[in-house]
Symmetry: T
Subunit: 68 residues, 12 copies
């Protein structure tokens, strides 16, 4: 039977970069979902304090194969 995939939406956070924020979200989700194989960036935001960026926040769609 043909493959079916599911997409879930996550928000990752990093003090340093969007790439690290993506990796943080993927790593945490991978603890319960073994089959994650791709992602898509939906939105990039961030938090600021006293003129400094304190958080890079990234909203992701993460795709993985549904097992039978």
């Amino acid at each position: 039977m043909s493959n079916v995939y599911k997409l879930i939406e996550l928000v990752g956070v990093s003090e340093k970069s969007y790439e690290e924020a993506i990796q943080n979200a993927i790593k945490k989700a991978s603890k319960s979902l073994k089959a994650i194989s791709w992602f898509q960036v939906i939105e990039q935001r961030g938090a600021v304090k006293d003129g400094n960026v304190t958080e890079f926040q990234v909203i992701l769609k993460v795709g993985f194969k549904l097992v039978d």
Copy 2:
């Protein structure tokens, strides 16, 4: 380790207002998800019968922190 959040998409319904439709969706989802902390309205629709609005329907993205 940095926080990771998940977004799920819900549809709430009310006979009275979009605010009540939102509250209905959040309340039901909160029974199984304790950490809901924000939402975003994606779409507003409704049902009509004999010239009267019988349902205000709201599609929401609801965000909550993933626990470790």
Copy 3:
């Protein structure tokens, strides 16, 4: 034969709320269109005078079945 529906676009206005603006548009359109069964909110705007909102304006798509 299968059903076919038509969508028309309306603007409703209310001094009080978007829900009332929607109901006003649906009620007026229902005088000539008996079969309206759903709507979708496209845009929400408003008018302001002296720092007070005087009109809540809602742009709707309204759907109804085409009769044979």
Copy 4:
């Protein structure tokens, strides 16, 4: 000479409804801007605590005439 208008973007907040959140933003902005005459809703969001909506947040574009 022809009229020119400016649009600024505001976020209003209310514990009760989007209509009140809009009115709150318009009222505060009207203290320094006398000529606000229309607005457009850009996004609707909110905050949640213990399964209850604690804030309805609305992002608005607010338009006013530039004086000569």
Copy 5:
């Protein structure tokens, strides 16, 4: 109490058509979710090999009622 619905995002695949890709995704998801009642097509993509389409891929939002 009023109904609440959930939307999940799936990717279905078929060698033949988008309609079959949709049906494949719905069928697999229905094994664990009994209440699926509607879907919406979000994106249509595909894979190509040697000038032939080998996969029609469809991204869907699938809606179902949350049981109490």
Copy 6:
């Protein structure tokens, strides 16, 4: 004088395919509108029952020349 065209929005339904749903909508609209000459797909949705797609629904913009 130059040509002017009108666009109306229709929803067609089929148990089999989006192509048939489009044809169904065009055929019904053509009974009263003789000059339909093009269409554009706006959205594709569907209904599901017991894990099977029971309706493919397509929202169309349909264009035709206004007669003098």
Copy 7:
């Protein structure tokens, strides 16, 4: 009772400019609709022959008040 407005979608054409294409569409629609009071440009297209633009085409939403 509060005002209700309707929006219809038209395509105007001109050999010379988008402004003339808009005026052409408004003029023709005004023969049957007396109350047109505003429009919004949705899309701008055109036709080309032998390296010259032969038609400027504009898709408009045109708004008018529904009479009681």
Copy 8:
């Protein structure tokens, strides 16, 4: 230190054309902002009276360098 630019949103109006409406908005804004260097058209609208376009309205984002 690297350059930073600001974008503001304006509405220009003309009886004749969108190009003149843009120029009107830019000219007025330039009285207080000396460094405007580019713009982007966001939306084109207009007003109609008795079947004639009386105003071409253009919503612009206007960009200028922030001085130190």
Copy 9:
């Protein structure tokens, strides 16, 4: 060195279905481009004559690897 891909935009046409329109576009493009490996549907349109759909038209983005 890392891979780089190019996307081009094509319009395919079929009297029968969108799937065939996609295949027609891919097949023709494959005569000069050997490495096409994926596509994405951008828009679906069509032509109508005497109440019958005479053309299903699909706008595609087609992706292929740039050779060194």
Copy 10:
């Protein structure tokens, strides 16, 4: 065999109007592409110097038939 079309994206520039900017882009592209038959406006921008618009810039998608 059925027709296939290609879309390319161009930026045209004029000191006077968007219509002239479009014509400039089409004319230049027509030197190497004989079969251009339609275009679609994607974005309208411009450059400003000392409060005057010095360039109207238009981003176009231009369509032409692929020859066999």
Copy 11:
């Protein structure tokens, strides 16, 4: 009285990364606006010279609380 926030749009530039471009824009804006607390990325662009990226440019919406 409830809080009201304002959003302004900035363009930040860096030779190195989007994160640095964001930080540059936030830092400069913070000289006159003390209360900046969040931002959202709207668009990412860049300049190229001789095959090298010379500028990463980011368009941001920056949010801050309006003081009473």
Copy 12:
């Protein structure tokens, strides 16, 4: 005669960052196109294996002047 520019769409890939993915795409395209002067990020995606991001993928529009 006025300048005309062309936009092409590329996908760049990097194991490390979106900035490097952009630079990779620009560098490869610059081998055959000498006049590339700007780019715009259209989409950001990526590949994942065993909970680690293995590819950052960026879809770009790249602009360059057409030579006479």
